[in-house]
């Protein structure tokens, strides 16, 4: 392993597109330095999300961050959004260059 690589968490959130306006300000509030957002399609407990129009569109938000921020993000999603919205979140270990950015 290259000595320049450092461990961080990759938090991936897949949720309904309508959540974007509520969720993005929360990311910054919990300490995330940035995010990557992509349109997504798929199928799950709430049926097929085919992206044909906004009400059936999903988004995928990826955040690279430290352990503390990752834990806060997961907790925030659980308490604020899990009950009423279609949300999936998972966290994996990744290795990054320039750890100060995340």
């Amino acid at each position: 392993m290259s000595p320049a690589l450092t461990c961080r968490k990759l938090v991936t959130i897949i949720c309904e597109a309508e959540l974007e306006t509520l969720l993005l300000p929360e990311l910054a509030r919990q300490g995330a330095h940035g995010y990557t957002l992509t349109e997504a399609r798929g199928q799950g407990a709430r049926g097929v999300r085919d992206g044909a129009w906004r009400a059936s569109s999903n988004i995928r938000i990826e955040v690279l961050c430290g352990v503390g921020v990752a834990e806060r993000l997961v907790e925030m999603l659980q308490t604020r959004f899990y009950a009423d919205y279609g949300v999936v979140v998972f966290v994996v270990d990744v290795e990054v260059l320039r750890p100060g950015k995340f």
């Binding site: 309508e18 306006t21 097929v48 992206g51 044909a52 129009w53 009400a55 059936s56 009950a83 009423d84």
Partner: protein, 314 residues
């Protein structure tokens, strides 16, 4: 019965969806078409508005909006009181039915135009005004007795949402530029309008076909509601238009506005403001039943009723 050709495009989309055809209109095309339609409808209304004194509209606008507020209240009482829907679901569905569908309005306008029945372009102002109030009523009904309303987020979502920005923006541009100023743009915004509407309706047919499965879960009461509510609201529109002394064409448009249910602004607003409401119920009813009903049977019915009642009311 002769259908508007654009309605046949809707049926084609619906059929393709039911047959599980691989026909698919990409989401970005849907977005682009809806931006075009909203802007074109706004511009058209604005150009017509330039021929009138805007202040004359203030009185009728107050009455039109005031009466429209009754629609979500009535829908809520029926759904909650009669059918025992949970408060959040009843309020969210009521908000959808109180708010308006821009495309249904566009189809009604083209229905009138193809029968050479005159209607005033300033009806578009009412279209823009009627989107918001029912959504506020819906949120109020859902939250009565409990605090916790993100009014600021909701107002921002609706007022800065694309439908209000483009409709109101188009109205303003059309009004400021006037018919002569807009004339060089006629080809893009007015000549292409019906073709774009046909495309959009085909896409809506596909989307509506996808909501049909939701209806099985919703049950027969909601399906009956999704047909009964627009007919009652349409009748209320014709009576209100009669009392305001509107022309028959305007009465048909007001009836269509009252009868139509929102499926763009309302789902987005309700998802944020009343998240515990099940969107499959409200969208399934408004898009799966009421939207096709209005296109196929509702608009011709309001047209027929408006002519029947016109002599009696005015």
């Amino acid at each position: 019965m002769s259908f508007e050709p654009v309605v046949l495009f809707f049926m084609l989309g619906l059929l393709a969806g039911v047959l599980r055809s691989d026909l698919k209109i990409p989401g970005v095309v849907y977005e682009a078409l809806s931006i075009f339609l909203l802007l074109a409808i706004g511009l058209k209304g604005g150009v017509e508005l330039a021929r009138h004194d805007v202040l004359d509209l203030a009185g009728p606008a107050l009455v039109v909006v005031g009466v429209a507020v009754l629609i979500p209240l009535a829908c809520f009482s029926v759904l909650r009181g009669l059918a025992g829907f949970p408060r959040a679901d009843a309020a969210s569905i009521a908000a959808h039915y109180g708010s308006v569908s821009v495309v249904t309005f566009a189809v009604a306008s083209s229905f009138l135009a193809s029968r050479a029945v005159a209607a005033d372009g300033y009806m578009t102002v009412f279209l823009a005004l009627l989107e918001l109030p029912a959504l506020l009523v819906g949120v109020f009904l859902a939250r009565r007795g409990q605090g916790q309303v993100g009014w600021r987020t909701l107002l921002h979502e609706v007022l800065a949402g694309k439908s209000i920005v483009l409709l109101a923006g188009g109205l303003l541009i059309g009004w400021l530029a006037g018919p002569d100023g807009i004339h060089p743009l006629d080809r893009v915004f007015f000549d292409l309008f019906k073709g774009m509407l046909a495309f959009f309706l085909m896409e809506m047919g596909l989307v509506a076909a996808g909501r049909l499965a939701d209806l099985r879960r919703a049950g027969p009461f909601l399906v009956a509601f999704a047909v009964g509510a627009p007919v009652c609201a349409g009748l209320l529109g014709i009576v209100t238009a009669g009392l305001l002394g509107f022309s028959v064409g305007n009465a048909v448009l007001l009836a269509t506005l009252y009868a139509s249910a929102s499926y763009i602004a309302a789902p987005a607003a309700m998802r944020i403001a009343v998240p515990e409401a099940n969107p499959a119920l409200s969208i399934g009813a408004s898009l799966g039943v009421t939207f096709p009903f209005n296109l196929i049977a509702g608009i011709p019915l309001y047209y027929w009723l408006a002519f029947r009642l016109h002599g009696v009311l005015v």
